[in-house]
Amino acid sequence: MSNEIKVRTILKEHGRLAREVEGLAPDTDLYQAGMTSHASVNVMLALEGEFDIEFPDHMLKRSVFESIASITSAVDELTATAQ
């Protein structure tokens, strides 16, 4: 399963979005789609658990979690260095 599919599954479960995750483009602004900062923390926790990674503090900023594409590329980067 590609990282993006897992990211979408986690967003569906924890993002508390106002819209269906299936219908979101990779670059749709998740905050505009209704993700609150509180929900974004749950997304981060679920991603850390799912991929067995830890987001370094410098990645904990809005821009990293603003779209499916930006989250996926952060996860890609962290899973690549973990291997």
Binding site: L17, Y31, G34, T36, L45
Partner: protein, 395 residues
């Protein structure tokens, strides 16, 4: 938009301190007793052109950075806490416009004509019935129709709304936007009605005159601040609020402790050679006052340094968890220490501090700073920090 992290000796702070001593302090007791707007103070600030301190020099303002604005709010709050709070809130609104509206004809003109030339005052409507104190969600939505727009909002608390020349209002971007997908909209006097829905008979901050109100306004679409409130909130409204509020609370605490110090000195003069029994108490309280001041000043200098370049990286940094935690910690820390310091001042002074009509009265100070923990509830802030600390490693 470079803003120096310095306090220029002769300028903004010194002139405000003079108004604090000569005007604000003189009227502070009646403003508090009558729960009325500090008109005299704001007339003086207006005449001295100090209401545009936060406007960049490119637009005719003083271009004061956060450190200087904080010192200005603290200086005014030493004379009158409500006045310091109104000035801080006005600066917060001006900063949102200056940092997010600059470069658009409407907001460029607004800053130079309304704020700098006419020294107008802006109030804020973030609170709303139905959002329970969460500034980052709205029920109401702006309706845009071609070049025009309209908005109605049922607000729980609007400081000096009836005394302001404009209102900066949060709302959802469109009728079908999510609750957190917000924008800021500016309405000028004549474009709105504000129907008071409650009273403002509070423990403290009585001069801010902040009852509930039903807002209804019509304007032009260009009055919607560009970008998302998610960004202007994180990059501007939250840092300006938490730093300037902390600064003014330190000003109130400093005045309370100043009265305690005056009281102790009086006792020492009556009996030279004998240390007044409450003097060590004062020494301990000053430890906390220094920590409180350094807390907001360090955050202000960080902000000035970050925004010195005001590039994309700086704005991203202001949107980071590290920065959000820092702001939350500052707000919680200062709002909790300020009442404690007023309590200490009261213990040092005793009955003359408890009475409302002596030179050593600290009741107003104490009541004013009790609002600090509620003004954006510390419980709400603590639970947001707790949530961030589940992923933030401080490493």
């Amino acid at each position: 938009m470079k803003r120096p992290s310095v306090i220029r000796e002769t300028d903004v702070v010194a002139r405000t301190a003079a108004i604090a001593a000569e005007v604000a302090a003189k009227h502070a007791a009646t403003v508090d007793a009558q729960s009325r707007f500090p008109h005299e103070t704001f007339a003086a600030l207006k005449a001295a052109k100090l209401l545009s301190a936060a406007v960049p020099q490119s637009h005719g303002g003083a271009g004061a950075g956060m450190l200087e604005l904080g010192a200005q709010c603290a200086a005014l709050a030493q004379g009158c806490g409500s006045s310091g709070m109104v000035l801080a809130m006005h600066h917060i609104q001006v900063a949102c416009i200056a940092r997010h509206g600059l470069g658009t004809p409407y907001f460029d003109r607004y800053l130079s004509e309304n704020i700098v030339a006419r020294q107008e005052v802006i109030a804020s409507i973030t609170s709303e019935n139905g959002t329970f104190g969460d500034t980052r969600s709205s029920v109401c939505a702006v309706a845009v129709d071609g070049e025009n727009m309209s908005l109605a909002k049922d607000a729980t608390t609007v400081s000096y709304g009836a005394h302001a020349d404009a209102q900066l209002v949060t709302c959802r971007r469109t009728a079908d936007a999510a609750a957190s997908d917000q924008v800021l909209v500016l309405f000028e006097k004549g474009q709105y009605t504000l129907e008071q829905t409650g009273t403002w008979d509070t423990l403290g901050m009585r001069g801010t005159c902040s009852p509930g109100a039903k807002f209804s306004g019509k304007g032009r679409a260009e009055q919607i601040l560009p970008g998302a409130f998610a960004d202007s909130s994180a990059q501007t409204m939250v840092p300006y609020s938490h730093i300037l509020w902390s600064a003014l609370w330190s000003g109130i605490a400093a005045d309370a402790l100043g009265r305690a110090a005056e009281f102790v000195r009086g006792a020492a003069r009556r009996n030279p050679g004998t240390m007044p029994p409450n003097a060590p108490h004062l020494a301990r309280a000053n430890v906390e006052l220094q920590a409180m001041r350094h807390n907001w000043q360090a955050c202000a200098m960080d902000f000035d340094e970050l925004t010195g370049a005001d590039d994309r990286a700086a704005r991203e940094e202001l949107g980071s968890m590290a920065w959000a935690l820092k702001m939350n910690q500052l707000k919680m820390g200062c709002s909790e220490v300020a009442p404690r310091l007023c309590h200490e001042a009261l213990q040092i002074i005793g009955i003359l501090g408890y009475k409302n009509d002596t030179p050593f009265s600290v009741g107003r100070h104490y009541r004013d700073v009790l609002s600090a923990a509620l003004m954006v509830s510390n419980e709400r802030i603590a639970s947001k920090s707790a949530s961030m600390l589940l992923v933030y490693k401080d490493a």
